[in-house]
Symmetry: C2
Subunit: 119 residues, 2 copies
């Protein structure tokens, strides 16, 4: 797999304000003005964030009169969860195997995640 799309989603999500927007939209569609009431930043800043979310394929916009309605894409939810599973599963899809990895040949392959208790 290539993680291009997944990285773009992560980048878009890796901002507290945009994460809150996603959280808000997970409850249902909202227009820009309604979203804005939940934040302290300016309207152009929201417009910027919504564009980032759209470009990452996280949100779609539907214009109705003067309102922009934003909705979470089901494809985003599916693809993001799938990307996460693929990333964190220690199976044959491991990048090493597709990379002629010397470490794999040296036996590092396999689920070797460790439960650790230090701070």
């Amino acid at each position: 797999m290539d993680y291009q799309n997944y990285v773009q989603m992560l980048k878009a999500m890796a901002d507290p304000n945009r994460l809150k927007i996603i959280d808000l939209l997970s409850c249902g569609s909202l227009c820009a003005c309604d979203i804005l009431t939940h934040f302290d930043f300016s309207q152009p800043t929201l417009s910027h964030h919504m564009k980032v979310l759209q470009n990452a394929g996280i949100v779609i916009a539907r214009k109705e009169g003067k309102w922009q309605h934003y909705t979470l894409r089901t494809e985003f939810i599916d693809q993001f969860k799938q990307g996460t599973d693929q990333l964190l599963a220690a199976d044959e899809s491991c990048i090493c195997h597709s990379d002629n990895c010397a470490d794999c040949q040296a036996g590092h392959s396999g689920k070797v995640v460790v439960s650790n208790e230090e701070s």
Copy 2:
């Protein structure tokens, strides 16, 4: 829930090189020098990335002689998946409900994600 820790994980993951490091480590522990062979950047740059991953609670380091062995934390895997589920589930944990949200009172609550087909 507060997403502080989750955002920190997202930030650390939202870099193609660090994502590849996570992918490599999902196959098993590796020392810095082994990880470095998979990349074009310099050794100090790797050191920086590993610090970011550690600060985000994604990776732990165990020093053995002059080698640093890096391992994915199981807690990271659990917490990240849990955070994702919590974010994208349209249930009572929705931020609106804990925020005295006017939109919720106006009936926007509920799973309203939309399958959309435009580009």
